[in-house]
């Protein structure tokens, strides 16, 4: 078996006295697509934010590409560069043009020249079908376009793994498809992805495994067929019936 790209073992996290994550074990192999779902407040976002240490954990270990990530560690930037992240609220830099949003990382982190960075950025903007907007500011774009820019920005750092934190939750319904299309393409190209989402259609189509979380614990890990067809636990059944009930 190949070595896992992201390995999480015995992970625990507390906010004050509140146990946000408890004893999480999850390993993601290279090229694997994992979808994490569960009711809100179940710790899905917290979990993937621990992977690049936007949140710190108190117990357990997280290894990315063979390097353990720890709170307060030196060189965390190095690891973050190999982990792309897409946020629910896009978080583009509003004072920079679209293309500058993409090039700032490569220029500052990798010491890339401006012209080369721009060339690469344009390539990724083309891939997310937004190249013609390169010199606009984020506020001039629709939500769906902004999220596609955010994906391109993460890709520009040539990450080993991409984290998606509810990438379509803040979008108007008609914008969701464009973003999901880009994500499906990315999956087809073999990108390792950990995706927190409520888009069950996406999960069914793309995921190798579905991780169901509730109250800070991993309750069930299945292939999509099993999870959507015949979930083993009662909590997963309840969640799915609520989600698909209407």
């Amino acid at each position: 078996m190949t070595k896992p790209l992201v390995e999480i073992q015995g992970l625990c996290k507390w906010y004050g006295d509140f146990s946000a994550l408890f004893d999480i074990n999850l390993s993601v192999a290279e090229g694997e697509r994992v979808v994490i779902c569960g009711p809100s407040g179940s710790g899905k976002s917290t979990l993937i934010r621990c992977v690049n240490q936007l949140e710190t954990h108190q117990r357990g270990s997280i290894t990315v590409d063979g390097h353990e990530v720890r709170p307060e560690m030196k060189g965390i930037e190095e690891i973050r560069r190999s982990v792309g992240m897409v946020f629910q609220s896009f978080n583009l830099f509003p004072h920079m043009t679209v293309v500058d949003n993409l090039t700032i990382g490569p220029i500052r982190n990798l010491g890339m020249s401006k012209s080369l960075a721009r060339e690469i950025a344009m390539k990724y903007l083309q891939r997310v079908r937004i190249a013609e907007q390169a010199d606009k500011y984020p506020s001039q774009l629709s939500g769906g376009q902004q999220q596609r820019v955010a994906i391109a920005r993460a890709l520009c750092m040539k990450p080993r793994v991409m984290l998606f934190d509810e990438p379509t939750s803040a979008l108007d319904p008609e914008m969701i498809a464009g973003v999901l299309d880009v994500m499906v393409e990315l999956a087809e190209e073999g990108m390792t992805m950990i995706v927190v989402t409520h888009e069950m259609g996406f999960a069914r189509k793309v995921a190798d495994r579905v991780v169901f979380m509730d109250e800070g614990e991993v309750v069930e890990v299945d292939t999509p067929d099993v999870f959507f067809g015949a979930p083993k636990t009662e909590r997963a059944q309840l969640f799915l019936s609520q989600l698909l009930g209407h």
Binding site: L54, E77, R81, V83, L92, F93, G105, R108, N109, M157
Partner: protein, 301 residues
């Protein structure tokens, strides 16, 4: 009715009885004050005496020259500009420290802000003058700058700092104001930095930017846009606050006005003229800044 019907007109605003009544009250109040001064006080008005201290006709040269009050206004303006520059530097550093993770930085900046904000300005100025400027400046040799220094004897120095013979005096006032206003600018900067959402920090971190790059490329450029309007307001406040350094004999407008009032005994005229000068300076700056702000807001769209 079809879609092309024009919208109904906005209702006009008109004066109500209450408005007229209030106007009347204000006019009556002003008239009464004028009556008291004129008839009860029996005050002998002489505006020309005071105007002579704004601009004076030089008999020898045959031209108008600036006199004490106008020179004082220029000194006040110079004080305000330099003090704002230094206060902004102090405020930028301290304001950043206020938002730092490091405990020592936060303690230092917090102590600075609280100390200044919780001491009356006048008290601070005396402490500053007697304990700091009168001790430190001579030790640094600033008091000899007006002598035997060829670089102070030129027009540029005059424009930037005024009379070289008063440079130490000017410097004391400037540093004093800078330290004082720096505390308020610190809070403006802190608020500016903290107004940048958590998402921006996270997005910067997520692409692996170092803390320095994150601050320089992402946080500060956005914070500065939010800081500029209150900073412009603080600059105007600083002009008004600069009047208190007259207490330690800094030769700015208010200090010179007390001298003029004493020499001419025309107290009312002097202070009305000086008040008018401060008003014109501050109000025109306020209008200018407001204009610039509107333009910046429009160009951002």
């Amino acid at each position: 009715m079809d879609r092309n019907t024009p919208p109904p007109p906005e209702p006009r605003k008109r004066l109500t009885v209450l408005d007229l009544f209030l106007f009347g009250l204000v006019i009556a109040g002003v008239a009464y004050a004028a009556y008291r001064v004129n008839d009860v006080l029996v005050y002998n008005w002489n505006w020309q005496r005071v105007f002579d201290f704004v601009l004076r006709w030089d008999e020898d040269d045959g031209r108008w020259v600036t006199n004490l009050l106008l020179q004082g206004l220029f000194t006040t303006l110079r004080l305000a500009v330099w003090a704002t520059i230094f206060a902004a530097i102090i405020g930028l550093i301290m304001g950043y420290w206020r938002t730092c993770d490091g405990l020592v930085f936060r303690i230092i900046s917090r102590a600075y802000v609280e100390l200044i904000r919780n001491i009356p300005p006048v008290v601070f100025i005396f402490i500053f003058y007697f304990f700091i400027s009168s001790q430190v400046f001579p030790a640094l040799g600033f008091d000899r700058i007006d002598q035997d220094s060829p670089w102070v004897d030129n027009t540029l120095f005059w424009i930037l700092f005024g009379d070289p013979r008063l440079f130490t005096n000017f410097l004391a006032g400037m540093v004093c104001l800078a330290i004082f206003e720096g505390a308020y600018i610190t809070e403006i900067v802190r608020a500016g930095i903290q107004s940048i959402g958590k998402g921006q920090w996270e997005a910067g971190r997520a692409i692996g930017l170092s803390r320095t790059n994150l601050l320089r490329d992402i946080i500060f450029p956005q914070a500065v846009r939010k800081i500029l309007p209150p900073l412009a307001g603080q600059f105007i406040t600083l002009i008004k606050d600069s009047a208190i350094v007259s207490l330690i004999s800094i030769q700015e407008l208010t200090f010179l006005a007390t001298e003029v009032a004493a020499t001419t005994t025309k107290v009312f005229e002097t202070w009305i003229v000086v008040g008018g000068m401060y008003f014109m300076l501050c109000y025109s700056l306020a209008v200018t800044f407001g204009h610039l702000e509107n333009r910046a807001a429009r160009s951002r769209r």
